[in-house]
Structure formats: structure tokens, C-alpha cells
Symmetry: C2
Subunit: 323 residues, 2 copies
């Protein structure tokens, strides 16, 4: 490979395609540790599969997860396929309830009600976004908090926020983010953390969860006047913005740890599907500055899915009183 | 008065005793604006009283607030007395449910249930703290979210945290804090705010609420390594620590705005009752640095009570469908 014949960006992409991710570090001559989300997720899935085996052997029961899909969005179908496959692999029984785009809110509520009352279903997820004419808040609030494995019910969110309370479920992406940090040996307590973004399903609950782990948390968002300066003071940076490569190397403190929760489709005529997935952090610049970083893809994504399995298992254990 | 004959501290206290608070500014030769919580609260109470008059005239109904008190704590009795008096003055009907210290959890739950179902009661507050043998979480969660005028129910807290959601009630102290800022002409959007403390009834919801107003919020707490440095970067500082005079002048950026939510009893043999009430901020040092500050007492406290009245009125308006 003659690197001179390629632009710097293409070179990196080519490089990623050729080498396993964990080798990036040495090959780039950087000290950054690439946090391998795929392998961490694999380890978590193995632990979950073991627990489900033990459950089946002991009480002849297994966890069940129901997914409610309204409308035919292609990205939603892809996400659901990934979740179903992950469930199957660890031994979680799945149920899919599909509605056409033009269904009514009441039809969805009736099915959620049935799932709430079905003892074989331990977790219910309503795939978001819903079509405009269906009230997301009403549907999400209608999911039983005891089966809210996405952790999006305001009751679970409130208990996540409140010191001394325990939510039944923590949203999967934030829970996965902490898991990535802990399993990579990153200390959270007393560290300065900046969460860039404050979405109600990722950024906000991640801030709350980091605070529960005793980090000093600042939240940076579109109204923040000097996001670069604030972010550059952080020991831990969590990105949840939805803007590819927003966070440049200059935003990061040398030695910081970065978890990139962004998954942005960026046009790329060089690949078959016409786009590639990139994060919110400019990876090529960041690895020259930070001490550890998650790649996109292969970082936060797989661990988020693993947390959905973990929440479903926890819910089943509670319902079946299986310790 | 010969100031040379007094120690600096005594001098200040003597001075406070002699002059109305709003004169402090000029008399000290400082530019700090003393945010007069008493007068802001008075204005809010007048608005509420007007609305209740209009309600009585229009639909011949008035808001009702029930207070549940368990045990005989003297401070709880004082707080309740203040709340009852404030209700009476604006035309809110009050109900007090008192239990002896040794009552059972079920007895309290039964009364809360009765209040939940009583259409004359629009707001229910359970005076905290409860005796050790009564499960606070269970009681607070049992209050109907539609009557939770303290805003402590996790459902309301979750909806406060989540962007795009609207809680039925915002906790009184945080709501009062924002009211103090807005009525003093302090812009919140885009400003850097530091909340010192993360209690579930003051610090945490204040952080969430400031974020809803688009401040860039950092939360500082006992695990924070450099609280002084972080606090000194803030345009707005909210103190909720419970340690008298913790926040010194050196913690504050020149021109910052400070809301002191602390109410600490400090021994003072010089006064009749043997103690005085001080905040978490060293007021004498702060007024030399900041552009505006709330005193303690007479700052956040009166506005917190006014917000309880406001929440109760809002609840009654919703229940009676009175616009």
C-alpha cells in the first residue's frame, strides 16, 4: 500500500478496513487505547447467555421481549433486525407487533396493554420514532414501568435523576456508556465529565448516570457559547450530538477518555451502500490527543444492544423472582 | 455608631439589624444588587391572591392544600405554620393531617389515599423528613402526581428532566430560584451556571430547570476535586449545600449572580433565640465580587413558599378547568 497515493482521510478508512481495530493504536504510533465495543459487548452477551441457561435449567423459563413497530421506516426495521438477532443468540424469546403507518393510536395502546398483561413478556420496546399522528409521550407512558426495558418511562427517568432512588431500568445507551468506561478501567468518581448533547434518550440520562457515579458533570448543547473550551477541561467526554465530526482534536484535553455515541450516515460513494457511519467526534484528530476512545462503528452501538438484553434479563429475574 | 469599637463581623450584623436590606448596596459602597426575595414574593403572592379572587367570583371555588405531618419535629411545625399562614393570606383553604411519631406507614397511606380522592384538595404535601420507620419513597410515590404540588413525585421529576415533556409541577425551591432570576432581569439562556449541591429536592431539580432554560449547567458536589475553580467560571451560581459560608468570595467570578438556597442555623449568643440563619455563601465577601445576590434570610425562602401557593393555584385551575 502506497499511502502517498491516497488522501489522508481515505488512507485512514482504507487502513480501518485492513486491520482489526485494536491494532490501530500501535500502527498509528499513538498512545490512545481504542475501546473495543464489539469485544466488550461479546463478553456481556456471553454472561447474559449463561444466566439465561441457568434460568432455563432451574425454573424452565426464559425472558421475553416484545417490540412494537409502527410504520415501515427502513432504519427502524434494521434496528429491530439487529435487536431480534441479539435476543435469539442469548436465548430471549421475541414477539414483534407490527402496525401499518396509518394505524390509530388506540390500536397501538390496545396492543401495549395486552403486552403489559402478558406474563411471558418481560420487556416492551416501542421502536421510535413513531409516525407524527401517534402521540409518542402517550404510548411510552403507557408501557408498564416494570417492563420498560428502554428506560424511557418518566417514572424510571425520575428515579434515575433522584439521589437515593433506584430506577427499575436505566436507558440502554447511557448504561452501555458507563459499562464501556468501567470495563476499560476508567475511574469515574471525582472526574470532570462533559456530555455534549442533551437528548432525552441519550445525553440527558447519561449526564444523570455519570452524576450517580459521582463525576462532576457539565452538559454542553446548542446554546452553549464556548463548547470547545468547556469540553477541553473534561477528563471524560461523551458525545451525543448527531453532527459528524463536530468534536475536533482541539476540543479535547490530552489524555481524556472519549465515548462517541453518535451514529451519523455520511455519504460515501466509495462504498457499496453509498454511505458510511461516522461518530460525532473527529476520530483521526482525537486519537492523537486522548488516552482512550470508542470507534464508530464498533464502540457504543454493540454495548447499547447488549444493555437491552441485560435489562430484559433483569426484568425477567424480577418477575420470576429468580436470583 | 463607632465602627472601630466592633469586630468586622459584628459590625456587619449590627448594620443589617439597623438598615433595610435593599440599602446594603449603597451603604457598603458596593455595586452588588441585593435581590429582595421578600418583595418579589410579596408581588407573586398578590398576583396569586388576585387570581384566587377571580376564581371565587367566577366559579365559587377556591384551591385547597393538605399538609401531612408525622411526628412532632419543631422545625417541621415552624415550616408548616409559615405555609398555613401564606395560604390563608391568599385565600387557599388548608387541611392539616397530623400523626403521632409512632403511627404506622399504612395509617399515613390511608390518609394520603383519602386526600388523593378528595376533590376539595388540589395539593398534598407530606412534610419531610418522616420518622425513620416510615418509608419516605413509598409515601411520596403514593401522592397523586396530579396533586403533587411539592413536585417530588418521580413522575414529575422525570418529566422535568426530559426535553419536550412538561411536568405537572416543578419543585418549589428550584421554581422560585428561576423566578428570582427572571424577575431580577437575569438572562439564563446560554449562560454558564454552576449548581453547588445535588439534593433531590433542591440542587438536582434546579440543575434540570436551568438546563430547560438553556443554561450550560455544571453540578459541583462533595466528590468534585476543584469546586472553587469550576464555580469561579459561572455566570450564575446556585448554592444548595447546607454548609454555612462554604462559598467564599474567591469562588465567584466578578459580576456573577448568586442565588443562595442554604438556610443554616448558626449559634449566635448575641440574639434572643440563640442562633441566626445564614446561607451557604459568605455574603460579606460575595457582595464585594458579584453583580447580584440573594440574602439569607429574605432571599430564596419567601419565594419558595410563594411557589407552593402558585403550584396549588395551578393545580386547582387544572382540576376546575378554570382558565
Amino acid at each position: 500500500m502506497n499511502s502517498l497515493s491516497l488522501s489522508p482521510n481515505l488512507e485512514v478508512w482504507f487502513f480501518i478496513a485492513q486491520k482489526p481495530l485494536f491494532l490501530l493504536e500501535a500502527a498509528n504510533g499513538q498512545t490512545a487505547n481504542v475501546i473495543n465495543g464489539k469485544s466488550i459487548a461479546r463478553a456481556i452477551r456471553a454472561e447474559i447467555a449463561n444466566e439465561i441457561c441457568r434460568m432455563k435449567e432451574t425454573i424452565v423459563k426464559s425472558p421475553g421481549l416484545a417490540i412494537v413497530l409502527v410504520g415501515g421506516r427502513r432504519d427502524s426495521r434494521t434496528f429491530i433486525r439487529v435487536k431480534l438477532k441479539a435476543c435469539e443468540e442469548v436465548g430471549i424469546t421475541t414477539y414483534v407487533e407490527e402496525f401499518p403507518e396509518e394505524c390509530t393510536e388506540d390500536e397501538v395502546l390496545r396492543v401495549v396493554s395486552r403486552l403489559n398483561n402478558n406474563p411471558s413478556v418481560n420487556g416492551i420496546i416501542v421502536q421510535l420514532p413513531l409516525p407524527q399522528h401517534v402521540d409518542e409521550e402517550r404510548i411510552v407512558n403507557f408501557v408498564s414501568p416494570e417492563k420498560d426495558v428502554d428506560g424511557f418511562h418518566p417514572l424510571n427517568m425520575g428515579n434515575l435523576a433522584m439521589k437515593g432512588r433506584e430506577p427499575l431500568f436505566i436507558p440502554c445507551a447511557p448504561k452501555g456508556c458507563i459499562e464501556l468506561l468501567l470495563r476499560s478501567g476508567v475511574e469515574i468518581m471525582g472526574k470532570r465529565a462533559v456530555v455534549v448533547g442533551r437528548s432525552k434518550i441519550v445525553g440527558l440520562p447519561t449526564s444523570l448516570l455519570l452524576q450517580r457515579h459521582h463525576a462532576t458533570v457539565s452538559t454542553v448543547h446548542s446554546f452553549t457559547k464556548n463548547p470547545e473550551q468547556i469540553t477541553s477541561e473534561a477528563d471524560i467526554v461523551i458525545a451525543d450530538v448527531g453532527i459528524p465530526n463536530l468534536i475536533r482534536g482541539s476540543w479535547l484535553k490530552p489524555g481524556a477518555v472519549v465515548v462517541d455515541m453518535g451514529t451519523n450516515q455520511v455519504q460515501d460513494p466509495g462504498v457499496d451502500q453509498g454511505f458510511c457511519i461516522t461518530g460525532d467526534v473527529c476520530y483521526e484528530e482525537a486519537i492523537k490527543v486522548v488516552s482512550a476512545i470508542t470507534p464508530v462503528p464498533g464502540g457504543a452501538g454493540p454495548v447499547t444492544i447488549a444493555m437491552l438484553l441485560s435489562n430484559t434479563l433483569d426484568s425477567a429475574k424480577r418477575a420470576f423472582e429468580f436470583i
